[in-house]
Symmetry: C3
């Protein structure tokens, strides 16, 4: 997949499709803009007129109410108009090709497509075909990428740790089927952390894991030693029906994060999870609700990060506005 | 259920969960504010900027297009942004707990949740857990309460009768399974009517009916004698499959409101119904479409009442505005 | 069906239900207003404040994400608020009559209903019962009419051909079941083209075809001779299960538009299709994607035409605005 598709000739973000190919200043720019949108604790994010008059279309080929809602909320807080287009129930069921659907949507004039699709590369495909001036945001494509989730994770880490350089970060769980993990690993390495570890059973680890620039652990307690950040992945329960996984109970015995295991990490380590959490499967309630959990802050920061990505790709910065 | 949850320390409405625990001035304040929003006959309700910049989330755990739409319309007429979050198809189906779903929604920053749930107490539960500054409106929880419906009924009565004090009001039908009836009885008694009657077969009357401060009738014609207001309840057709009810035809013979029966009421009596009506089951078409029916005015007033409740709980009064 | 229902006493459009009964100046007025909204090639349609403060309700009794989205987009570009009311999942499933549903919706105060229904005449029925000042737009009723589609086709033709007078236009495909075809034929004749041809197998031609003011052809190549505009209709695949049609392959052999067949038309002929297209059934990819295809322009112009119809029927013209 060509990844510089998302940059214009000046090297600025025009689409946001993947972390791959982005350099540190790109990510830092998004984090800085998100900072300007992030609410103070206990406060609401303030609505701003940056994207007034713009139309943003949520183009969801795969249902995800929660993800769609976070993008819809971010768009409305930027004063954009939002069209929700659930493609599953529409064109493709009429036998139309993806490209025809896309060309039709383009002809309808949207300023941005937020795309969710079960096939890897779908957002890239769409970005390659939209009109100049139209931006595409990848809201999750197959097992490939979920870059806004990764950036909101980076934002959460920076809020708590400040500098990325000295950090050791462990990502725990089903690496194999996680578009989130792939995006996180790239983002962490781009931002220059000391070490990224992945902790997973062999069956849930991609063959090319080591080539991603990570250290691989199969034992949770060893992997957690001295880390600053623990990122838990959501275990897809449907994997358990197949041969890849033992029961939820056995998984928890081996890879569930408990307070006791968390003591292996640094005393000020934070615990993250993209949600929704499976209590007692990948994480114990005591940890999810404990003082080191920043899981709900992730959700909240997610709005600010999506606002940043939307305004940045559409070229709207604070100070500039259009009718 | 703790009912002063909905008031702040100054005794002002912060949430709107139930009629229980509200005093007459609370209800009269809502009615007065609604008056300022209500359209003149044949006119449209005018859009006002009271909630500009605010986000209102419709959080429907149970599908109800009509109720959702009235709240969405009221919110948009107040210039708020609306997010429709149908939880049935989202988080809970992923095995997440209600509390986790809620905490996530909170973290997303909404100024208000309009909640519909099939379990009694759900809106209270949510109100107990939201951030300070976030309001919760109960749009119907199980058999417990549907307070905005009750207030719009009060608004309709006041529009036609002026003073509540001398009124006799009959509520007819399935009291047992009606969250609307419970809310109406409390509102009528709080507003100081002379008498509230409930008219129902024994099988559709809650055991504790008399403790609600009503007179119970099992015979429709006797119960209607000299009343000023007749409130018909919608008969849930699904009850008829069980043992609680005879056929729709037999029900109509005993409890259907006809012109002839309505003659027992006062000559200027009005007829109300929360809709949608079952013609020929609980009400004859001649009555539903007749000169004493105010059923469609109820719908119309419902928008003004919902606007009043939304602006009041969010602390936005005419004259005040925010960016 | 009474067709002057859509005009007020001054002969102005109040509803937009059908092409029938409209005179040439009506259609030209819509086309002229649409011209003012249409984007320059490669540009976005600009949002205008013409319908600020107005509420437009999409009242869809039949699911059609694409059509609903085009109207929603048009409404938002006019700064109106949009309520999506999918009636299929709501009132009618509770046993309520269409008229009761409608009266309820009316009471909710909408400035406009955009209606899609599987029964011919539904939009007329609704227009007959709404309050004064409320407009109804027909977004497709049964086999009867789909007038905004027809007008956007006329707009597309005018953009390419300028004057309607000298034109020969061929409509190809399932005339019998096409509400689009009926509306197109009337519009073309009202605008004074030289000749309208319909090209279809006997089984897909309505008995009264000739009374519509068209020339009938059963052979595609003969029918295409010297035409200026070719309008392909979408073949509903569900017809093929019945006795009306051979297989998709056989249909394409007889009535599929190929480059070779298109050579019978004039060298500057344009090819239109309402979408979504069935490649290899009614049209070859080489034609759909070819230089004479204006299919995607139709989609784009459709937004401008819907904006024109909405603002015209609500009496909002450029220059006028309301709070």
């Amino acid at each position: 997949m060509k990844h510089d598709l998302q940059l214009n000739q000046a090297g600025e973000l025009r689409h946001f499709l993947t972390i791959e190919g982005l350099r540190r200043p790109h990510l830092e720019q998004i984090l800085d803009i998100a900072e300007s949108f992030a609410a103070l604790p206990g406060r609401q994010v303030k609505k701003v007129p940056l994207l007034r008059g713009r139309i943003i279309t949520n183009l969801f080929f795969e249902n995800s109410t929660r993800t769609r809602t976070t993008f819809e909320l971010a768009a409305k807080l930027l004063s954009a108009d939002v069209i929700n287009f659930n493609v599953g129930v529409s064109a493709t069921s009429k036998g139309e090709t993806l490209l025809d659907t896309l060309r039709n949507l383009e002809a309808m004039h949207s300023d941005m497509f937020v795309v969710r699709h079960s096939h890897s590369g779908a957002a890239h495909f769409i970005a390659r075909h939209v009109n100049p001036g139209v931006s595409v945001i990848n809201a999750g494509d197959g097992w490939h990428a979920h870059p806004t989730q990764a950036v909101l994770d980076m934002f959460t880490i920076r809020k708590h740790k400040g500098d990325f350089t000295p950090l050791r970060v462990a990502i725990v769980g089903d690496i194999q089927h996680s578009r989130v993990a792939r995006s996180q690993i790239m983002a962490l390495n781009t931002l220059g952390v000391t070490e990224v570890r992945v902790i997973a059973p062999c069956t849930l680890l991609p063959a090319e894991a080591r080539s991603l620039g990570v250290h691989v652990y199969h034992d949770l307690e060893t992997g957690l030693e001295e880390v600053d950040v623990v990122i838990m992945l959501r275990l897809q329960r449907e994997r358990m029906d197949g041969a890849l996984l033992p029961s939820a109970h056995e998984y928890f015995q081996l890879y569930g994060l408990t307070e006791k295991r968390l003591q292996r990490a640094r005393p000020d380590a934070i615990v993250m999870h993209p949600g929704p959490i499976n209590r007692g499967v990948e994480i114990a309630s005591e940890v999810a609700d404990g003082s080191r959990s920043v899981i709900l802050q992730q959700v909240s920061y997610g709005i600010a990060v999506r606002m940043a990505v939307m305004s940045l790709t559409l070229g709207a910065r604070a100070g500039e506005q259009r009718g």
